[in-house]
């Protein structure tokens, strides 16, 4: 490969979110006329890396060089001025304006009459850009009428109009059809030929191997290496994406598995989840894995009644239940620990007692609170889960992430008629100590005969906790696997469908 100019260089980038280091001394660079692909599992740090490069997030340490010059504090605006454009799926397009108006937005061509935009000239210029890129769009079409692919292409055209040197695309094809994907990949190759640098992130390794010049693999915030396309094959990439230290795996004890207690049959909702069928036995932990956006959270929301299914049936102990709402699901014995405790779990500004007893209060009878009972039950839960709190008036936001998560889980342990526990990402943003305690709670629940569904993006968690693992892809439950001798790479292959 001929020596070309370096457009972008990142050196020793470190980024910490709360207690987690999401990028550990990562280096990355991009040459002129190159497509550099970033691959890795959910949460490997790909998105964070490009957010740093687009100025949306600032790193804790490390150096950023753009066109050979060191940039100390990069803001989104500065990044665009320096020629770095990030193409998002939908954002940044004004639906009510035409293609040409979108491309010239904020940079309108003025005509001789003051305050009037020269629409004709804009349309002509746009036509030129589109033609050069081989994009077949009507410049006077309203952007809102275009498909996702069309909107992405406008964004690319706009970037070119603004003389961008670097284009970043994060999962551009996840909602595109086959034809559209092909058109987009061709377009990217044309851009490359014009000397632009492209950073391309995708879960779809097939695409990556079609267009990449180089591939960088990230795993848990660490760079596993950068390879020329010729130097590496698909299997090696998958192996490098996974393959973790055994220390990260939790050694759980076996628990005898009983009869089927929970079953879904052909459960589906248009556009989100398609005809999912599976069952969970008493004492069993059923893991559900898949890529972000594969419909895992939607599936459990359907079971919990937070979303209403179009079709399908849900059974507990052979009896058909059709949860109409979360309260209905709760009464029928389903518990749901959601994936984002800040958004869907915690009552900020309220103390731990109120946070612990919200479910119990809802399920008990009467109009008045039983304050003594509340105090007794919350004290019990605090002790049982060893939640570190100073006193009962402590607000939940004052606890650490792990303790917050334990409070949210503890809330559900007070639902005495529970049959099924759904944990969506139970240890997201939780430190190692609390993580093991949460695993112990789950095992205790299983031992007491409850059924457990655990959605997880954390591969070691999925492999070390689950009895069986269901694989979700594009809204379908494609495989259900017995978890013996399963390997990370086997799972990843099923997740991405190669």
């Amino acid at each position: 490969m001929a020596v070309r100019d370096r457009l972008v260089e990142l050196k020793n980038i470190v980024k910490v979110y709360g207690e987690h280091t999401v990028l550990k001394n990562v280096d990355f660079d991009l040459h002129e006329g190159e497509i550099h692909c970033l691959v890795g599992e959910n949460g490997a740090g790909k998105s964070t890396l490009i957010k740093i490069l687009s100025g949306a997030v600032s790193p804790e340490s490390g150096e950023i060089f753009i066109m050979g010059k060191r940039v100390k504090s990069l803001t989104p605006r500065l990044a665009i001025e320096l020629g770095i454009t990030t193409v998002y799926q939908d954002a940044e397009i004004v639906d009510s304006l035409t293609v040409a108006e979108n491309i010239f937005l904020g940079n309108e061509l003025k005509s001789k009459i003051p305050f009037k935009i020269d629409k004709q000239k804009q349309a002509q210029e746009t036509q030129k850009i589109l033609k050069r890129l081989g994009i077949d769009l009507d410049v006077n079409e309203i952007a809102g009428n275009l498909s996702t692919a069309g909107k992405q292409m406008i964004q690319i055209a706009k970037a070119l109009h603004r003389k961008a040197k670097v284009i970043i695309m994060d999962e551009p094809t996840s909602s595109l059809g086959l034809e559209e994907t092909r058109a987009l990949l061709t377009l990217l190759k044309n851009l490359k030929a014009e000397g632009l640098g492209i950073i391309y992130i995708s879960h779809y390794l097939n695409e990556v191997f079609q267009i990449a010049d180089r591939i960088t693999i990230l795993k848990d915030g660490e760079k596993m290496g950068t390879y020329l396309l010729e130097q590496i094959d698909l299997n090696t990439v998958v192996k490098k994406m996974v393959g973790r230290d055994t220390a990260l795996f939790f050694q759980r004890r076996p628990i005898p598995i009983g009869d089927v207690r929970f079953r879904v049959h052909n459960l589906g909702k248009e556009g989100l989840v398609e005809e999912v069928t599976f069952e969970v036995r008493s004492g069993e932990i059923f893991g559900i894995g898949g890529l972000v956006g594969s419909g895992r959270t939607e599936l459990v929301s359907l079971i919990y009644g937070a979303l209403r299914p179009d079709k399908g049936e849900i059974f507990i102990d052979g009896k058909r239940i059709a949860p109409k709402s979360p309260i209905d699901a709760m009464k029928k014995g389903i518990c749901f620990v959601s994936e984002d405790r800040k958004k869907y779990g915690m009552f900020l500004g309220r103390n731990i007692v109120e946070n612990l007893t919200s479910v119990k209060n809802k399920l008990s009878k009467g109009l008045l609170l039983k304050l003594n009972e509340e105090l007794r039950l919350s004290s019990q839960t605090v002790n049982r889960l060893s939640i570190a709190v100073s006193d009962r008036d402590q607000l939940i936001e004052e606890l650490s992430g792990g303790n917050q998560q334990k409070v949210i889980i503890g809330r559900w342990l007070l639902n005495s008629n529970a049959t099924l526990y759904i944990f969506d990402e139970p240890t997201k943003g939780v430190d190692i100590g609390a993580r093991e305690q949460i695993y112990q709670i789950m095992l205790e629940l299983a031992e007491s005969g409850k059924s457990i569904i655990m959605v997880s993006s954390d591969m070691p968690e999925l492999l070390s906790m689950s009895d069986r693992i269901g694989v979700m892809r594009n809204g379908r439950l494609t495989h259900v696997l017995e978890n013996n001798n399963l390997k990370e790479e086997d799972l990843v292959r099923l997740f991405i469908g190669v």
Partner: protein
């Protein structure tokens, strides 16, 4: 981590008294009273104190309802217009010698109905209640003008027991009713499931829904209670003033919101208590009285109140982010947006 034995009960938090918002209000009230009392000794006369208590009764009742609404994450700026409409309707009924039973019933039901209109339109159309109540403010006041044809409705000394009775010649009945409403509101917020649900939906709607709480029912209940209290306040006000017109009550909504907010209940919802509101209302009453005592031009009184409300909103905005730094948070949000 602290080791705990298995049956230890969680201890109560030790929060110094001076960290409460009401403590500052009490302090401000004492200071104001001392200053005013020194300049004009009549401030401490029994007559003046009784007068203050009488004046803040209506505001206190409104502020109690508003506290529950704001804690639930809602607001109603049409309460002033609601009072105007209800007072006009019942004043016309009194003029026609309709029995008090029907008058009380109509006052409560009409006010509650109006408040539920604001609430349900906000919940059904998923519009902020600030906007729907702004719309209904106009509807209520317009209706009041239409039915009275803009004519002042004097009730000639009828129906004055509620507003003018003084127990043992000192304690105004209205004030006693106001105090019992504070207790009722405190009871609801602290000891009932409904009150707990107010805090929950105000703090995190999504989490409340996933915990099985019905957002619709809970918020509607807050509007219902607010409406009933507006009905009660309308009767006391009409009884004390002796006449009603469509503009009766206008501006009271802002004073009530101001009292709630300065009492430590942020407009973002999910936090706050009635004790703060009590002292907030008292502060409003004392300021108003002080301005009278010091013979401040009534027009300037309006100015002072306006500034006071804006200042209290500023206090709320900053205390909602206290410790974290509002600007730091803002910058972080806009960067990671």
């Amino acid at each position: 981590m602290e080791q705990k034995n298995s049956n230890q009960v969680l201890s109560k938090g030790k929060r110094p008294v001076y960290k409460n918002q009401w403590f500052f209000l009490l302090l401000a009230e004492v200071v104001l009273a001392v200053i005013t009392g020194t300049i004009n000794p009549r401030f401490f006369s029994i007559r003046n104190i009784t007068n203050i208590l009488e004046q803040i009764a209506v505001l206190g009742i409104l502020a109690s309802g508003m506290t529950m609404l704001i804690i639930s994450g809602e607001i109603d700026i049409s309460v002033g217009a609601n009072i105007g409409l209800v007072s006009c309707v019942i004043a016309m009924m009194i003029r026609n010698d309709i029995s008090y039973f029907w008058i009380i019933l109509v006052a409560l039901i009409l006010a509650a109905f109006n408040s539920l209109l604001v609430g349900s339109s906000s919940l059904v159309f998923k519009a902020p209640s600030f906007i729907t109540s702004l719309g209904f403010l106009s509807v209520f006041r317009g209706t009041a003008y239409a039915i009275t044809k803009g004519v002042f409705q004097t009730i000639y000394g009828k129906f004055e027991a509620l507003g003018l009775t003084r127990i043992w010649g000192i304690l105004p009945l209205g004030f006693l009713i106001g105090i019992s409403i504070y207790f009722l509101a405190h009871f609801i917020l602290k000891y009932s499931k409904l009150g707990r649900h107010f805090y929950a939906v105000g703090s995190n709607t999504a989490a409340a829904y996933l915990s099985g709480i019905s957002i619709f029912k809970t918020k509607l209940a807050a509007f219902l209670i607010n409406g009933l209290l507006v009905g009660l306040a309308s009767m006391i006000l009409l009884s004390r003033v002796g006449a009603a017109q469509p503009t009766t009550g206008s501006g009271l909504e802002l004073r009530a919101i101001g009292a709630v907010v300065i009492g430590g209940t942020p407009l973002s919802g999910g936090k706050g208590n009635i004790l703060g509101t009590f002292f907030g209302v008292l502060l409003m009453g004392i300021i108003s009285n002080t301005l009278n005592m010091l013979r401040v031009n009534p027009y300037f009184q309006e100015v002072v109140f306006g500034i006071f409300i804006v200042a209290s909103l500023a206090v709320s905005a900053f205390s909602a982010y206290s410790g974290r730094g509002i600007f730091k948070k803002f910058i972080k949000q806009s960067r990671e947006g």
